[in-house]
Amino acid sequence: MQLATLLIGLVSATALWSGVQALNAQARISYDRAAATFGGARTAMLVGRDDTSFPQALFVDLRRAGWPVSPVLEGRIQIGGRSFRLLGIEPVTLPGEVGNAPTVGRSGLQSFVTPPGEMLVAPEVLADLNLQEGARPSTSSGTLLPPLRVQPQLAPGVLVVDIGIAQQLMNMPDQVSRLLIGKAKGPRAALEAVAGDRLRLVEPDAESDLERLTDSFHLNLTAFGLLSFVVGLFIVNSAIGLAFEQRRPMLRTLRACGVSARMLNAVLVIELVALALIAGIIGLVCGYVIAASLLPDVAASLRGLYGAQIPGQLTLRGEWWIAGLAISVLGALAAAAASLTKAARLPVLVAAQPQAWQQAQQRWLMVQSAVALAVFASAGFLLLYGDSLVSGFAVLAALLLAAALLLPAILERVLSLGQRSARRPLAVWFWADSRQQLSGLSLALMALLLALAVNVGVGTMVESFSRTFVGWLDGRLAADVYVNAKDDAQATAIKAWLRGRAEVDAILPGGRADAQFRGAPIEILGLPDHTTYSEHWPLLESSANPWVRLRPGDATLISEQLSRRLKLGIGDRIEVPTPGGNWPLEIVGVYADYGNPKGQIAVNYAALTRRFPGIPATRFGLQVAPPKIPALLSALREKFDLGDRSLADQATMKAESKRIFNRTFAVTAALNTFTLGVAGIALLTSLLTLSNSRLPQLAPLWAIGITRRRLAAIELTKTLSVALITALLALPLGLAVAWCLIAVVNVKAFGWRLPFHVFPQQLLELLGVAMAASLLAALLPVLKLARMQPASLIKIFADER
């Protein structure tokens, strides 16, 4: 029994921890791949002082002055209505240490630089565009692109061409976005002496933008993995503790026979390490299965939340296996530390003294409570003065740790009050015995508290997000039909055709441009001057008449995350770089932009097209009376051969958005369930192990006339009572966790703050789930007791035991 419990605990701990690590490692491989694409954040570079492009002549000047620089031009183009990141590189000067660039550039240098050139893409792009290698797609504006060539090292969503081709495609002749800096081979002139103040040096960063952005997600996964690992170790601790108690007479005999404490401990450690290695291997296999099954959801979450592309195939390295086995062994040793210490100091002649132990435990509870209060205080301090994502998670961790540490003391106080108020003898025994049993159950109950609180917290956060998201979508998806033409020519034709249709009340043009703003990319959204937007578009705060103020083109709305990140508010003025120079804008409103990893501003559509004349005009919305939508969609499909990606009504868009939203949180829900499941197992194993050691306490009661069935019912009530108290304590703790996630962690991680709601029905459901899990966990030992043969109970009284 103890062996099975020990293995279950170690397997659970290792499986979830390793599974999460496998997912994180997989994501990191993808980020590395993205970062290695021609000088991401991991390459030193020179950029324009105000992040705009600069003349290519500066590149020539710097090369002549001894700077090992290589030019890159970056922008976006649309193919078949889909937007891609276009990188123009100069393969001859590309520094050797820039990711995998040299192999890309030099392997087919001739064909890459001579017309029609080549466009390097990741295999995923070919699949996305449904094209073969060598095909020549056109942009949405009708320009023919170079033949596609697959480069497996490239990140998905990136197109790489020679810089000359990129300059033509983006209509930016002799312009450069940045200069990558290679290793200096000789002396070079000072930057200012060559470029004046037009360029600035950006030092390489060990962490890519994507890694920084997704930190919170991976921290979240790691936190779940760690929580499950700790809960698993609780099981191990309880199993080893009981095994030690059961072996105590044997250990005492061995000590009495002259075996040294050191020898005894060495044998116990060897046994434990061997078991931990076996459990570690099983755990790793389970971890791989968990990671493989969660990977599609994790990939969806990362794509939905951050735009990160993670392939759906799990690749694991040798380090993962070694780390998994190491964590299993170290975890087992940590969980066994107390028992091993006891074995080392085992007094040969002292018998077990539960009451004295309980009194010692009470002194320990005082210390534990004092530590809990100190941890609570540190959570408060971090909440007041912390200003980072890590401090947000630290507040959460401190809150959970403090509550877990305080739980046994609270339970002890409640049970002690119950004992004092009890009058009937069985009730007195019920409370007194529950108190004595508490020490054996407290770790499992702490696990239950943590799992439930995290469930309540994450559940409340996701539900708050879900409700807010649905309300926000209703306002944000203001048009009735959305069209995404494959190029400008088709868009013009569709619009002309639509003008002749009586059921179309309005055509709402839309456009998007990309720009660099204060060192980070932003999207500039063009919104038409139409009542559809002024009446429905949800604004979090605004000045008077914001939509009227947008019309002249000198005002903007700003997304919440950009507003928080750059500490910008209503009335602030910003300057956005455009091809024709900086664009001064006054902020007149802040809007929610959930799920967008990029900062965004929204301006008048006409003003956007004036500032960015080259942006595709392929996307637009339509105002149509709802009953006439299906007929219009059919007609559009038939007339212009538009697929589902190019044409959608509002209901479909909403359904798709909600589907993506739900998938984004599917991994959280799965981890929530896993954690609660492991907590249930912890409770079950604790109860099973306790049930064996409790026979000497229960047998006298049976002997003096309490039936086995009644004893079983009392045992069940005892377990459910402490589980209920724990679950009730978990509810406010979970709400505090939810508040922390919503008001601290989300704001730091994503840049938006959701309204905090409490969902009583959800809380009741979780309470029900917790009680059902406790009932399931308690049922087996209780049934065992109810059906126990008298012979087993009589053994307790037998003299010749």
Partner: protein
């Protein structure tokens, strides 16, 4: 069946086939009791037709070598285990014919049990341990309880927990708990087995006095000839039969 509501007259008129000299009514009657265990794949007959009567107020020692079936007989009488054949009557209650719940009720209300390992409830204080059985049986008598505390010398120990007591003190609490309900029969399985000689004498003397005071029957399993000799009667169990 409410077996303790037997009128005293009925008890006095109960049969006495073994001719016990006390003249008191029979509280325990065992007839042709058999019990077989399965051990290492073989049937072992532990009791092979035991007959035994104990009268109210009578103190009987049950001796026999290890494995002779002494504890088994005690467990069967207490309803802790079920016999294979034969009859056990406590007053006129047929123990063997009672259900599990009925046997539990019988132990709770009419039997006192004392074991070698004391088997007190570790989470309850001495005071709560002493009153536990009498209170769940609804037969708590405060005056009797106080007398027991006084006679057993437990007055200063009431707030303590079992593990804080010596073996002799724990056994006195166990005896007090067993007698607090004023049972018909006190069954003790090697009650002094874990005690030194002086303490054993002291505990047994107290038990004898209290049994006399309550007038219940007393059956004590013991290995000690010396202690057996201090009781009214001694029966010896050999190879599953009363010798």
């Amino acid at each position: 069946m409410v077996y303790w509501a037997i009128p005293a007259r009925a008890l006095k008129e109960a049969s006495n086939p073994l001719g016990i000299a006390t003249g008191n009514p029979i509280v325990l009657s065992v007839r042709n009791l058999t019990k077989t265990y399965r051990s290492a794949g073989e049937q072992v007959a532990v009791l092979r037709g035991v007959n035994l009567d104990i009268a109210a107020g009578e103190r009987v020692a049950l001796t026999g070598e290890s494995g002779s079936g002494k504890s088994t007989l005690l467990h069967l009488i207490a309803g802790l285990d079920a016999a294979d054949g034969g009859e056990i009557k406590l007053a006129d209650a047929d123990v063997a014919g009672l259900s599990d719940a009925g046997r539990a009720e019988l132990r709770r209300d009419r039997l006192g049990l004392v074991f070698q390992q004391f088997n007190l409830i570790p989470s309850l204080s001495v005071q709560d341990n002493l009153a536990f059985q009498s209170r769940i049986a609804g037969r708590h008598d405060a005056a009797w309880h106080a007398e027991l505390v006084d006679r057993l010398g437990l007055g200063a120990l009431l707030k303590r927990y079992p593990e804080q007591l010596s073996g002799g003190q724990q056994q006195r609490v166990a005896i007090g708990r067993a007698l607090a309900t004023k049972p018909l029969l006190l069954l003790a399985d090697e009650p002094t087995g874990n005690l030194d000689e002086a303490t054993a004498d002291d505990v047994l003397a107290l038990t004898r006095d209290l049994v006399t005071r309550t007038g219940c029957g007393f059956l004590m399993v013991t290995h000690s000839e010396r202690l057996a000799a201090t009781l009214d009667r001694r029966i010896h169990l050999h190879a599953g039969l009363i010798a």
